[in-house]
């Protein structure tokens, strides 16, 4: 072993060069690494959406959603299939096991899609864009400063100029337009004219379809040259449509103009966008999954001048939201924490060592380890984000531990053996501590392994963090054992041993305390463990949450009106809300954006749903208070809608939580929505008496008014009209589905044979005139049974079964016990018919799963650590003694959590894991040293030996403790974006370090004495 380190020192320049190279590459990696706010937490998911204009939720479920679900359920690796059928759209989302490659899965889905048969005219299933849940990286508005262009025109610009240009940017999967109107050509048919001209509706449709065609006629050779022949029959002008011949007789023709007016119009729409009280044309750029958000946004921004140049005069692209802003904010919160941490650690080191050269070596190990970690991150394709960087920030104090031990030992031995050769002494010193250093760093790495076992969202969030800690620990190990001996050889001096004044001060306080502690060891130990017991009991009462909310420094609302609300009404509402906000908060808010309903690419929001994003003025402080006040004020001013505060990224994450957003929910599965509604109501009544229940709400799926037109076959036969003619009138004449397209360059606009005046009210629909081909004229309500009923506004399904959600919150008690009680009560009191069943779900489920995994993995890890400790000390007793130090750390952690009032979240749990490592490290340092002393002076009485050892070891123990503490302090006091996610963690770690260090220094010596008194006596 010593030989190895001697060799290192011999080839010192090679080692130096190697590390300089590593540092260089590490720096390059640091510069190149993809930067993102969050790790990619999107589950492996493929979305299939089918636009089926005008059709109802029930029909779409039967004819589109179910066949797709059935076909997809047999695919390999399918975890879950969720679907939502709404008016005009089927949305099926297939969740796969994470191990598969996205492109492979998409290919599997494509193959299956081809086997699905969907009735003609009911739409074509399409795969959703290959983007992540956080893929909406860039939002913009198309503005028109000349105020002359209509929303229809702006929409055209979006679709045919902006989208193609932005889509060509590398890393852009899709560009989605939202708002404005799509132009269409309306052929407004006056049914009464049908009698005069002796035509039927079908004849008009056929005439339109028949006339709008072109043909290629190959070529003609004429005078040795080639002339292409081309039949150009596409409609050129509106007059072409008007002059379309329906039928001709005796040199006279009935044309479209005889039965209809031809006008430009607007297609029916399902979404709109308003900005600052006016309707606007809005767009979103989706990032392809696996690309770097920051780079994509950068490329988009580079392309913008080109896009603007291509737009008509006065029209330009205005950026509304750009993912990199939050990313930069989050990353800078973390990097500044890292930087401050490093500086604090350096100061602490200097104060303790009071010697510049050794302090320099230790401090140098900091950036080097970090750069090695970056190199490895790049190697494994990880991105620099909130979670991975916070891993580095947590580890920063621990990075230096190995180096400290090596340098300190070298320093001491050099001092003690001035006669020996420097290389020899340093090699010896390094070899002496190599084993404990390796073990200690291995233990730290092992402690974080349980995090790697987390599944689902928790896994995706915390795996990068754990990996990063492991990386940086490995880096620090390499630095400590390879570079530090070389640097020590080159820099350390065999000079005088200066004592740090800080150390002296601490020692003078500590010595009497230690003496007291050793005297009253038993009492103190009992008191400590009683306190631990009480705190642990209190911890189980602490509220739990999956993840603290990320503060994105923005205000956003989801605003929901009653089901069935018309889009037009929602537009009115959003305009009123925007004007209200702008007039009431003129100093705080610069702009308000509302996205209503859905854009064209397969989202399931309806006209009653909107998302409102506020752009705040740059100098606004204390956003949280403002948001809180605004929520209450808005809710009072607009009592007819519901405001749910959220934030741009948080909202997307919520959507990824696989279905249910509430903390706790009961899902009711079954067939008939009315029955499910009844069961939900019964459950709501049953659980309402149970203690702790708050806000039980049934997500109502009914409430969409429908006008059903059911053909009356007897009446139809009387008039000689076919059902398909009626349905055609409903689909095209009333539902405005185009029958052909007018082609204008690359642009295409639907031509719609619309029935004039049909869509005024219910009476006007009833009065739509039909004419059979034999000439019979009849009103729609004479041949059809027309009823107005209330139907489902959406139908949600999970794994091929319909379900309904009853969501609730639990306050003041443990959710698990609540679920147990409620479940028993429901089983006893609610009659659930055959074919219906319930399941508990919600955010708590994620937490439960994560806790369950941890409950299994942590004991295994404990065993592993015990094994490592045993290997190191060759004694189970000592290994156990060191593990006993863990509760000592926990005390501070729990106290910190309780005092700060933070909930027990996964973040806090990670904090406890970190304490675990710290407590064990503290224990190792002390126990191994007492051991060493014991070997050297086997005759000294145990209490005296322990006291001396503890006093001698005070410096390294305090140093490792203080470096870790000061490393993490910046996280505790950070205020920027993302800080709140790591706050519970830093609270726990800070508390833990303080208690662990104090108690290690006071209780552990006593424990040691108690543990080994007997063996000591036996020895004597």
């Amino acid at each position: 072993m010593t030989r190895f380190f001697e060799l290192l020192i011999q080839y010192k320049f090679l080692i130096l060069t190697l590390f300089i190279a590593v540092a260089g590459f590490g720096y390059k990696a640091y510069k190149d690494i993809p930067v993102d706010a969050f790790p990619d937490i999107t589950p492996k998911q493929v979305v299939i959406y089918t636009e089926s204009p005008g059709n109802s939720a029930e029909d779409i479920e039967k004819l589109i959603t179910y066949p797709i679900e059935a076909a997809m359920s047999g695919l390999p690796g399918v975890k879950m299939i969720l679907s939502n059928s709404i008016f005009g759209l089927s949305y099926v989302s297939i969740f796969f096991e994470d191990k598969y490659d996205t492109y492979f899965l998409r290919q599997l889905v494509t193959e299956r899609l081809n086997t699905i048969e969907i009735p003609k005219g009911w739409g074509k299933p399409t795969m959703g864009p290959n983007t992540t849940g956080l893929g909406q990286v860039f939002w913009y508005q198309i503005t028109d400063s000349s105020h002359t262009l209509s929303l229809t025109k702006l929409r055209e610009i979006q679709e045919y100029i902006v989208t193609p240009l932005l889509k060509s940017v590398d890393g852009v999967e899709d560009v989605i337009g939202w708002g404005g109107f799509t132009k269409q050509y309306n052929v407004l048919i006056d049914p009464k004219r049908l009698q005069a001209t002796n035509t039927t509706y079908d004849e008009i449709v056929e005439a339109l379809e028949r006339s709008n065609i072109s043909a290629g006629g190959q070529y003609l050779e004429f005078n040795k040259e080639q002339y292409l022949i081309r039949g150009a029959g596409f409609y050129q002008t509106l007059d072409d449509i008007k002059n379309t011949v329906i039928r001709s007789k005796d040199a006279l023709a009935v044309t479209i103009a005889d039965v209809a007016e031809v006008k430009t119009g607007k297609a029916p729409r399902f979404g709109a966008v308003t900005i600052d009280g006016k309707e606007a044309m809005f767009g979103m750029v989706l990032q392809r999954s696996g690309t770097n958000a920051a780079k994509v946004v950068e490329s988009i921004k580079k392309k913008l001048p080109l896009v603007n140049a291509a737009l008509p005069k006065g029209v330009s692209i205005r950026t509304i939201y750009d993912r990199t802003e939050i990313t930069h904010k989050a990353v800078s919160t973390m990097t500044s924490a890292l930087l401050t941490g490093s500086i604090l650690v350096a100061i602490v080191l200097f104060l303790f060592l009071f010697e510049l050269r050794s302090a320099f070596i230790v401090i140098l190990s900091l950036p080097l380890s970090l750069l090695i970690a970056f190199l490895m991150m790049q190697e494994y394709g990880m991105s620099a984000n909130l979670m991975s960087l916070s891993g580095l920030a947590i580890a920063i104090g621990m990075i230096v531990d190995g180096t400290i031990v090596v340098v300190e030992n070298s320093f001491r031995l050099l001092h003690d053996n001035p006669k020996l050769g420097r290389a020899e002494v340093i090699s010896m010193a390094t070899a002496e501590v190599a084993k404990p250093v390796i073990f200690a760093l291995l233990i730290i790495a092992v402690v974080f392994i349980p995090l790697l076992s987390l599944k689902g969202l928790a896994g995706k969030l915390y795996t990068p963090m754990a990996l990063d800690i492991v990386f940086v620990m490995l880096g620090s190990l390499a630095v400590a054992l390879l570079l530090v001996p070389v640097l020590s050889f080159m820099l350390l001096k065999t000079g005088k041993h200066s004592n740090s004044p800080l150390m002296n001060a601490i020692k003078s306080v500590y010595t009497p305390m230690l003496e007291f502690a050793l005297k009253n060891a038993k009492k103190l130990i009992i008191v400590t463990f009683v306190i631990f017991g009480i705190l642990a009991a209190l911890l189980t009462q602490q509220g739990r949450e999956f993840m603290p909310e990320l503060n994105e420094e923005s205000i956003m609302y989801r605003v929901i009106s009653i089901p069935g609300t018309a889009l037009g009404q929602s537009v009115e509402t959003s305009k009123a809300i925007e004007k209200h906000i702008l007039s009431h908060y003129p100093n705080k808010v610069s702009s308000v954006l509302s996205m209503i309903g859905r854009s064209e690419k397969g989202e399931t929001a309806q006209g009653n749903y909107m998302e409102i994003l506020l752009t705040l003025k740059p100098d606004v402080k204390d956003i949280e208070t403002l948001a809180h006040r605004m929520t209450i004020e808005l809710q009072n001013s607009f009592p007819y809608v519901q405001f749910i505060p959220t934030q741009p990224i948080a909202m997307r994450i919520e959507e990824l939580l696989e279905g249910v957003k509430a903390e706790l929910a009961v899902k009711i599965y079954g067939e008939d929505q009315k029955v499910m509604d009844r069961i939900a109501t019964q459950i709501q009544q049953t659980v309402s008496g149970i203690e702790g229940l708050e806000r039980p709400e049934i997500e109502t799926q009914l409430g969409q008014a429908q006008i059903t037109i059911r053909p009356d076959y007897l009446a139809l036969s009387r008039y000689g009209i076919n059902v398909d003619e009626v349905m055609r009138v409903i689909r095209n004449g009333i539902g405005e589905e185009p029958v052909t397209e007018k082609i204008e360059g690359i642009r295409r606009f639907g031509i719609v044979p619309k029935i004039k005046g049909a869509k005024k009210d219910i009476a006007s629909i009833k009065a739509v005139l039909l004419r059979s081909n034999t000439g019979k004229m009849v009103r729609l309500d004479e041949v059809c049974d027309i009823k107005v009923i209330q139907g489902p506004s959406f139908i949600k399904r999970e794994d091929l079964s319909r379900y309904m959600v009853l969501s609730m919150d639990v306050e003041g008690r443990d959710i698990a016990s609540f679920v147990e009680e409620a479940d028993a009560k429901i089983k006893k009191e609610v009659n659930i018919p055959n074919g219906y069943y319930i399941k508990w779900a919600g955010d708590f489920k994620n937490m439960q799963e994560a806790t369950a995994t941890l409950a299994l993995i942590i004991p295994v890890t404990l065993l592993l650590i015990l094994l490592l400790l045993y290997t190191a000390f060759n004694s189970f007793k000592k290994a156990f003694l060191i593990l006993l130090g863990v509760p000592l750390g926990m005390i501070g952690g729990i106290a910190g959590l309780l005092i700060s009032g933070e909930y027990l979240s996964v973040s806090a749990i990670v904090g406890f894991i970190a304490i675990f490592a710290i407590a064990i490290l503290n224990g190792i340092v002390l126990v191994s040293f007492i051991d060493g002393l014991h070997k050297k002076f086997p005759d000294v009485k145990m209490p005296i030996l322990v006291k001396d050892a503890t006093l001698l070891r005070l410096r390294p123990v305090l140093m490792t403790a203080f470096t870790t503490l000061f490393g993490i302090l910046p996280l505790l006091f950070a205020t920027g974006v993302g800080s709140e996610i790591q706050y519970p963690l830093s609270v726990v770690v800070t508390g833990g370090i303080i208690s662990s260090t104090l108690l290690t220094l006071l209780i552990l010596p006593g424990l040691y004495v108690l543990f080994f008194k007997k063996s000591d006596e036996g020895h004597n």
Binding site: Q569, S583, Q642, E697, R718
Partner: protein, 368 residues
């Protein structure tokens, strides 16, 4: 200064724009339920068509203004009849008009008293109902008088003098009833022969055709102009091709430049066939699968006293409206005839969406 004003004004406007301000109340009213049917009509010309002048009231033929063979134009006076029936009708009408005036004054007094708290809401409602009834009777009579060509509005006192006029241009053909003889309603008095009258055949669906009476009138739209027409005959056979009933209307004031066989559009006003309770169409809302109208919560309790409603009212204490299920009978322009409310009952006629939203808000859920 002006700038600040400009800034403040829109802010004030927004401040007022709250949901509750957009809720408007109205009272359900009894109104004659009629119907305007828009349909196809074809213009035709029937030569030597005889037009019979019919005594539309029982009475005594007092004077003939024309003699046989005389040319008449549409609207020319032809016969004067003295009718006891008309005298009674016009006397009734004049009396009703005075009654209505008095009732209105009483209502105004009652309103003032109500505002001062000297009378109950119930009494006020009673007054409103009374006045509605009088008005309904009055308007029924007015429309009857109107169909006789008498302008009820101008009627100052009772009259028994009823003048019949020629419907169209033509020549007086025959006089059937001697002067000073008594006639019954529907008795033909004379015929006027029209050598070239224009007619329109309206194609009506069978239900509407059965509601056509001799008093039915309509307007024919042709080339951007409207021509009045009156009912002549419901043709005995229906149109085989279109399976619609054919109703013959004669165009008054023979138009120039009209084209025979042209298909045109015609509005036919079918007579009010009953009085019905009408509310504004904007008051309707589909609530839990049924058509409802929102009424004030406390009033509805007083009026009906149903226990169930009281419970519901407690449930939504802060919302002062309740859904009342109604049955739709017919749509009529902006109004709709319903059953399920009381005459004079106050209902929400605009801003229904906001009332419904507030009632249903607890079930909105968290979206998605």
């Amino acid at each position: 200064m002006i700038k600040t004003l400009l800034l403040i004004l829109p802010m004030l406007a927004f401040a007022n724009e709250t949901a509750t301000n957009r809720i408007i109340m109205d009272h359900a009213r009894m109104k004659p339920l009629g119907k305007i049917v828009r349909t196809n009509a074809q213009i035709t010309q029937l030569s030597d068509q005889k037009q019979k002048i019919v005594s539309r009231l029982p009475g005594h033929v007092e004077k003939y203004f024309v003699t046989t063979g005389q040319h008449v134009k549409a609207g020319d006076k032809v016969v004067l009849i003295e009718s006891i029936a008309l005298s009674k009708m016009s006397a009734d009408y004049v009396a009703l008009r005075q009654q209505a005036k008095a009732a209105r004054e009483q209502l105004a007094t009652a309103r003032k008293l109500y505002k001062k708290g000297l009378t109950s809401q119930n009494e006020l409602n009673q007054k409103i109902i009374e006045i509605e009834e009088v008005l309904a009777q009055q308007s029924a009579l007015a429309s009857q008088l109107d169909s006789l060509g008498i302008d009820a509005e101008k009627l100052k006192s009772a009259t028994d003098q009823f003048i019949l006029r020629a419907h169209a241009d033509g020549v007086v053909g025959e006089i059937f009833v001697p002067l000073h003889s008594n006639v019954n309603a529907e008795d033909p008095l004379m015929s006027i022969v029209n050598q070239s009258a224009y007619y329109a055949i309206a194609y009506l669906d069978l239900n509407d055709a059965m509601k056509v009476t001799p008093k039915t009138t309509g307007f024919i739209r042709f080339a951007g102009k409207q021509y009045p027409a009156h009912f002549v005959q419901l043709l005995p056979t229906i149109d085989k091709e279109t399976q619609r009933a054919k109703v013959l209307f004669m165009m008054m004031n023979s138009p120039r430049n009209i084209l025979i066989n042209a298909f045109t559009e015609m509005d036919i006003s079918l007579e009010p066939y009953r009085n019905a309770l009408m509310i504004k169409k904007s008051a309707l809302s589909l609530f839990q699968g049924e058509w409802v109208v929102f009424v004030e919560a406390h009033k509805s309790e007083k009026a009906h006293g149903h226990n169930k409603k009281e419970e519901e009212a407690k449930e939504h204490e802060e919302i002062p409206y309740l859904p009342e299920v109604v049955k739709i009978i017919a749509y009529y322009g902006d109004d709709v005839a319903i059953e399920g409310l009381d005459a004079g009952e106050a209902y929400v006629s605009a801003g229904v969406y906001f009332v419904k939203s507030m009632l249903l808000k607890s079930s909105i859920g968290d979206g998605d």
